[in-house]
Symmetry: C2
Subunit: 414 residues, 2 copies
């Protein structure tokens, strides 16, 4: 804050601007690069976590939007309650409740997409040097959201031998997990590990974040129980008041452009997050909240899900087949049961995927290097490949280009 | 952060949750109270800054929304660029540019309402203990937005005799002003003071925030030049790169439910704010951005403005007439030339408007006490009365109830 940068302010006026906050010097603009990659002609973007636009139910949403604004003009065009439209909070409470997990409106906060839930959580739980126990590797958007709060990360490799959730959670402000088809690895956290994390949260008191944007995108097998449900089993008699903070979003099941997400948690946590939301954007647009509510009520989510699942399953299979043909000499990977990504780890521990990226861009393909999923930026041996945005032929061509980039990198290293 | 609160987590499980961030203990939920006041039957809400719902062009917006989603499904339903829809950024650049103030898309960030601009500004400029020179009294939403960043405030009473902008701005990360019909006082900052603030910003290098939600709500007289325009006069040859950070919103000229605002500033500041926005909500909904763009392009703002101005002018006059009839024994005020509020200062310096509030609520009326516009909470001699939400008869009745509350308070003090 005492550093300044010099800008020329006009003839004869040299102004010394106050410095930007220090976290800006520790960040990267990779998400903006991913979003902008769509604008580069001919580039195959396998980096971001973008859905297939052809799955968006545009005609239905257009009509839902028109009716929502005509029928509820004061609700949707005015300021709404900070916590969200009461009807949407009720609908979400009902959707995620079970006999063992009683939920009311007081357990629900509506957010501007899943990302805002992460931002608000950082605001209410992290002060400079505060400790986060984060599932490693870690969703880069979560790292982005918390960087301005100056946290310290303790990496949790949940499926590593000897991983002890109680040790991991002790002293942390919260633990962060993506149990379903984790971003970036595509892995599921198994039932035993979920139960152990919940038990550790109950024992240590640490908040346990269950970030679940991908739960609905399961292509094979049965879903595993949510941690918030496992946490609730001990207390079926009153609205959930335990340590799990569950987060979800419309982005993967309807469309990201709605920017509607939700947090389901103890009423005291919802209150704190609402205080933070009041100072962040006052409230989320009533227009998009009402569209989400009416789309859910009309069964739109269930109606489009088979098409989404079928589309993404075929794309995942095409990507993995092309990887077997072209990338098996360099990388290992697992075929994910759901989600949007394949995580490929190089055989050669000295392969630096940060160095691969410019060659990939030059060859006309973009993937996400593993360094961006590590708060310390040290993990450089893997790449995250998205399979939801592009059709099978484009994915195959993208993998071919990636193989070209790998050969170029290898030639340079010799 | 080392404090804990004890919650009972289930039979036999006493969990010690990590403490919430310390700023939560220093805040108030007055904005939520204002927004919720709409739900209390019979209460006349003159506290918040809410527009008159009957001014919302609901039918037009409903049709604009339908067409926007049908015509641009991929744009509005997908993730968009962090900085905003390029066409909306261009339209805003064009709207605020002048021959002396050249603006391009690089000068513009689209935000989730005006509030998000304040939140992002705090993220990029404030670290613990950072100094803000804030026009005093200060918009409570700005105090809310910056509280999680731990700032220190230097109060600027801009029209006080001897006010020296250079002294005020020196050492501050930024200066915060609402030059048009300031929230809460309704005052305009005069031309001479605007020029002096701009000169001081150029001389000290300090960023100068010109928050302008109310500029379009002027009921009498001619508008004064924007500070960003005054700042630009020295440098007509390239996109604006000076210290003024201008902020605006659709909330007062179309409808707050769109949650669309904007920041116009030097490209380097826009870049920094975009990095903060990436980690806050990724991007603003394309649906609401496109509605704002199409509404502006269709001339909707200009078409509804005469009705808005006429409605609010009559409401302001009704409020001030009722105040003259019922409140002149207690308060002084100026009739504001624009905006949404009358600021009434008690004759008696010992009148505590925090103590008035519960009596007002009991009498069936809600106003904003001055303490919430002071970072230190010490200013307790005034009230802010909104005149835009209620019709003239309701305003008159609200003032009568306020007089009743004052008499009750007075009787108790004796």
């Amino acid at each position: 804050m005492t550093m300044t940068m010099t800008l020329v302010d006009g003839p004869g006026l040299a102004a010394h601007r106050p410095a930007f906050a220090s976290w800006l010097g520790m960040t990267n603009d990779i998400t903006r690069t991913f979003l902008a990659a769509g604008g580069i002609p001919g580039l195959i973007n396998m980096a971001g976590g973008l859905p297939a636009p052809q799955t968006y139910p545009a005609t239905e949403i257009a009509e839902i939007a028109r009716r929502a604004i005509e029928i509820h003009p004061a609700d949707v065009l005015g300021y709404g309650p900070v916590e969200g439209l009461p009807e949407l909070r009720d609908a979400l409470a009902q959707r995620f409740a079970s006999p063992r997990l009683p939920l009311t409106r007081a357990n629900v906060l509506v957010t501007a997409g899943g990302m805002q839930g992460l931002d608000l959580l950082g605001k209410v739980l992290i002060e400079d040097g505060g400790l986060i126990a984060g599932q490693f590797p870690t969703y880069l958007g979560a790292l982005d959201a918390w960087r301005p709060r100056g946290p310290v990360f303790r990496n949790m490799v949940i499926d590593a031998p000897g991983f002890d959730p109680v040790v991991a959670l002790t002293g942390a402000q919260f633990a962060y997990t993506v149990p379903n088809f984790s971003n970036p690895t595509g892995r599921m956290v198994g039932l035993e590990a979920r139960q152990a994390l919940v038990d550790a949260a109950h024992r240590t008191g640490t908040w346990l974040v269950e970030d679940d944007p991908y739960g609905a995108l399961q292509y094979e097998g049965a879903p595993l129980p949510r941690m918030i449900g496992l946490s609730a089993e001990a207390r079926p008699d009153r609205p959930y008041d335990g340590p799990v903070v569950y987060m979800g979003t419309c982005s993967k099941e309807i469309a990201p452009g709605l920017r509607i997400g939700w947090v389901i948690a103890a009423p005291g946590m919802i209150e704190a997050l609402a205080m933070a939301k009041q100072g962040s954007d006052i409230c989320t647009s009533g227009i998009t909240q009402r569209i989400a509510l009416d789309a859910m009520a009309a069964g739109l989510v269930e109606r489009i899900r088979p098409t989404i699942l079928d589309t993404y399953r075929r794309r995942r299979d095409a990507l993995c087949a092309a990887m077997t043909d072209h990338l098996a000499d360099w990388f290992d990977w697992e075929v994910p049961l759901g989600g949007m990504f394949v995580w490929a780890v190089a055989h050669d521990p000295s392969l630096d995927t940060d160095l691969l990226l410019p060659h990939a861009m030059a060859a006309g393909v973009c993937v996400a290097p593993s360094s961006v999923f590590d708060a310390s930026g040290l993990n450089r041996r893997a790449i995250r490949i998205n399979f939801t945005l592009n059709d099978p032929d484009t994915l195959t061509e993208g993998v071919r280009r990636l193989a070209t980039a790998l050969m170029t990198l290898q030639a340079r290293r010799r």
